[in-house]
């Protein structure tokens, strides 16, 4: 029995399974299915899971990938995505189905073109007959010795639930098993065949399982046999090719921030911009950093914001120097620009640590919230001025004011960075904001 004669892909050697084990009956049917499809052994991969079924692949003259428990579907998907010419067949037990449930569901949901054959013998044969996700209610196993109090999983319904391609159920008594497996393999999309069988070492003796009882179980749970579910829909890799690989190639303009402007920086300068979500703090800080680079400086930028990005603070830290910047921490900045109460709340500790030589540049609405500080304070109507242009432009506007006050490098550099890096519509608004921000200084619109 255990030596399979006249097989096409299987080796003519004794199989390692227990007498009466269903595995020895399913594998020759797999061989027949593969022969029916005339699969190229070098283009066919049997991916095996852990469990007794994991011993199967070495009895076939095709390529084989024997991986970790429950993860076989992930390797199968990786192989298929890397080389869609491959026929990839996963052989797993009901144990693998349980531990790898999420991979099963998601492979089905994606409808990726692999075939999964479940050698379903209702328990873990390799480790001593413990219960699995398919053990029937009341079933006796090593870990359900008084009867299983869990209900069994219907793998085919799972595929249906996520609109996967093909799901069939069969038993070792089914004369058409080879044909069913062949149909699953030939199906373009995800396919599974849930094959109910015997574990003669554990489940059969403990539960006096026989053909009649197995048929009764199918009936009890209303588990259908044959092709349970089949839907034609686009296969995952084909979709990827169509949508992503064939996407129109956009012309990406290469922007180089070559030095064009002079700068007046005399020492490493640390700047913090404290704003709120929606003020474009992060992107404006990048524009500002880029403009510093256009002025021949080294710059670094890091951002801090809560995970709920549409609310709360948005704080960016910028460091400028004439040489490579190694340490990018800021304990006490030279300049702190505050444009929103959320940002102010976030930098309170920093405000208290600021030195006499440092400067806080703050929106006039926020002055009352400012804690005591040794830093110089300059007040500007940022919000009011920005609202007249576009309220999102407040960050770039305040940075223009900062530049006009400090003259670290020219306003023109900031304008150039806007033009280089931003889309035209946004750039237009930001250029206006920069002019307005610089004008605040000309007008002397600040108080101490």
């Amino acid at each position: 029995m255990a030596i399979v004669k006249n097989a096409v892909y299987m080796k003519e050697v004794e199989l390692p399974f227990c007498p009466g084990c269903g595995h020895s009956q399913i594998l020759p049917q797999l061989d027949k299915a593969m022969a029916k499809l005339n699969l190229d052994p070098r283009k066919t991969v049997l991916v095996t899971d852990i469990g007794c079924v994991g011993l199967s692949d070495q009895y076939f003259n095709v390529s084989a990938f024997h991986g970790l428990h429950g993860r076989s579907i992930t390797y199968a998907c990786g192989l298929k995505m890397a080389n869609p010419e491959l026929t990839v067949i996963v052989l797993m037990g009901d144990g693998g189905l349980g531990i790898g449930g999420t991979h099963f569901i998601n492979a089905a949901r994606r409808n990726i073109d692999i075939t999964v054959i479940i050698f379903n013998n209702f328990n873990f044969g390799m480790t001593g007959g413990e219960h699995s996700v398919t053990t029937p209610f009341g079933g006796k196993t090593a870990t359900t010795y008084l009867g299983n109090i869990e209900y069994p999983l219907d793998a085919c319904s799972l595929v249906q639930a996520v609109n996967g391609g093909f799901a069939a159920r069969s038993t070792i008594f089914d004369k058409n098993l080879a044909d069913l497996i062949a149909e699953a393999i030939a199906f373009k999309g995800f396919s599974v065949v849930d094959v109910w069988e015997y574990c003669t070492a554990y489940y059969v003796p403990r539960n006096e399982l026989n053909k009649e009882k197995m048929m009764k179980l199918l009936e009890t749970y209303g588990f259908k046999t044959g092709i349970v579910h089949k839907v034609e829909r686009k296969e995952y890799i084909e979709s990827y090719r169509e949508v992503y690989l064939n996407q129109p190639q956009k012309q990406v303009k290469q922007i180089s921030l070559d030095t064009e402007f002079e700068n007046n920086l005399t020492q490493k300068t640390e700047i913090i911009i404290a704003g709120a979500a929606g003020q474009k703090v992060k992107s404006s800080a990048t524009v500002f950093g880029s403009s510093a680079i256009l002025s021949g400086l080294y710059a670094t930028q890091k951002d801090d914001y809560p995970i709920t990005i549409m609310t709360g603070h948005s704080v960016s830290e910028i460091i400028l120097d004439k040489k490579e910047i190694n340490y990018t921490g800021i304990e006490s900045p030279d300049y702190l620009i505050i444009i929103a109460p959320e940002g102010l709340a976030k930098v309170k500790r920093i405000i208290q640590s600021m030195r006499e030589t440092s400067t806080i540049i703050i929106d006039d609405n926020l002055v009352s919230l400012l804690p005591d500080t040794k830093a110089k304070v300059e007040i500007f109507p940022f919000r009011k001025t920005a609202n007249a242009i576009d309220r999102f432009s407040i960050t770039i506007l305040s940075l223009a004011t900062f530049l006009a006050r400090t003259n670290l490098f020219p306003i023109e550099a900031l304008k150039k960075a806007v033009k280089l890096t931003q889309k035209e519509a946004i750039a237009e608004i930001n250029l206006k904001a920069i002019d307005a921000g610089a004008k605040l200084v000309e007008e002397g619109a600040y108080a101490k």
Partner: protein
């Protein structure tokens, strides 16, 4: 070409230039931008990028794709490495080329999401069952994020072992001025293939114990066997103790400092000052604090040397030994509870050298002044 880029963007560029054709990942700050970048860039070069259902699937997809012949990479942060664990073991056992980027953050479990830390240093080395080695390289700048990503691919292709590119939040998510004309672009090296006309393929055959087996992809000209189990040269299960011993020694011996040095010339960066008795040792983002501390110390007339370790695993012991000659005090700042310093303590003669640990786990970068204070304190023994 001058740009304003962060480490994650540089890693994506490095991967594409190294010939990466497959990426799978799962969102986790601060590594997510790498996933997003690869989703954008890989289709342009005919590659495949996917967001997997979890980290286990991410690395599983990568292992499958790599064995089908694609250069593969995944990226995550510490919690994701926890989920990679079993498959890191598989990649070691199956001798799978794979680049794993770890953008570290602080603390165990969810930790300080998402602030900086360097707490995965021992974990990446010992994070899978069995204890067999991996390679880990650690950039300190955005430029090195690019260059070392290419080296990471070269090393994983040559040695067929997972290679970690060890970054951290502050390195990966801080923008920096980048001048491409000054950035090293290493020559790209691919895995060694069995000639297509070879009759038979023994997937795990090696002549000398430290040789790397020749590769033939699934779907190529040969029938291929890959396995998670201890195996013979054909990829069949081994049960003979003597043969298992050889196989395990092979996994252990195929990588070492000397072999890696041939393909990765930057295993350490030693800034030596003659007659210095104080040596600062650092790696990753902390190296940049240490550089400033050393500059400050020297500007005050103090003598101090600085060793930056770029090859974290395997430990570059001979370079460390060389650098520690004459040192009376070693100062080792790390953004963790004192991890890589254990390797230094293992290597040096502790009766002759005082080792000063600076361990900061408050999510902020170590201030150079903190290192400077230790240099001053230990000056003159």
């Amino acid at each position: 070409m001058i740009e304003f880029l962060d480490g994650n963007e540089a890693i994506v560029k490095g991967a594409i230039d190294a010939g990466c054709k497959f990426f799978a990942g799962y969102p986790i700050t601060p590594a997510t931008p790498i996933l997003l970048g690869m989703m954008q860039e890989l289709p342009k070069v005919g590659g495949f990028a996917i967001q997997a259902e979890d980290e286990i699937a991410s690395i599983g997809f990568c292992i499958g794709a790599s064995m089908a012949g694609k250069k593969a990479m995944t990226a995550t942060s510490g919690p994701g490495i926890s989920l990679y664990s079993e498959n890191i073991g598989l990649a070691i056992m199956g001798e799978t080329p794979l680049v794993i980027v770890d953008v570290q953050r602080q603390g165990p479990a969810t930790g300080s999401a998402t602030k900086d830390g360097q707490g995965d240093i021992q974990f990446i080395r010992w994070g899978t069952s069995g204890g067999y080695p991996i390679i880990a390289i650690s950039p300190t700048t955005v430029e090195e994020c690019y260059t070392f990503t290419i080296y990471a691919f070269n090393l994983t292709e040559i040695f067929r072992v997972p290679v970690f590119l060890v970054s951290s939040k502050e390195l990966s998510m801080t923008r920096q001025r980048i001048d491409w004309s000054r950035i090293e672009k290493p020559e790209v090296i691919d895995r060694k293939y069995l000639p297509e006309d070879a009759n038979e393929y023994k997937p795990y055959y090696f002549e000398n114990i430290d040789d790397v087996p020749l590769f033939s992809p699934f779907g190529g000209k040969h029938i291929v066997r890959y396995t998670t189990s201890t195996h013979d040269e054909y990829g069949n299960l081994l049960t003979t103790p003597e043969k298992i011993q050889i196989m395990m020694e092979h996994l252990d011996k195929k990588i070492n400092e000397e072999k890696i040095k041939k393909y990765f010339p930057h295993i350490v960066k030693f800034d030596k000052q003659d007659d210095a008795e104080i040596l600062v040792i650092s790696y990753g983002i902390t190296a940049r604090s240490a550089i400033e501390a050393v500059e400050l110390a020297r500007s005050q007339g103090l003598k101090v040397s600085h060793l930056i370790i770029n090859l974290l695993w395997p430990v570059p012991e001979s370079e460390i030994k060389k650098a520690t000659i004459g040192a009376k005090t070693i100062i080792f700042p790390e953004m963790n509870n004192g991890q890589y310093v254990l390797e230094i303590e293992r290597i040096v003669d502790k009766s002759k050298v005082k080792i000063v640990r600076i361990n900061q786990m408050d999510t902020t970068l170590i201030n150079p002044r903190k290192i400077l204070i230790e240099i001053i304190k230990n000056n003159g023994g």
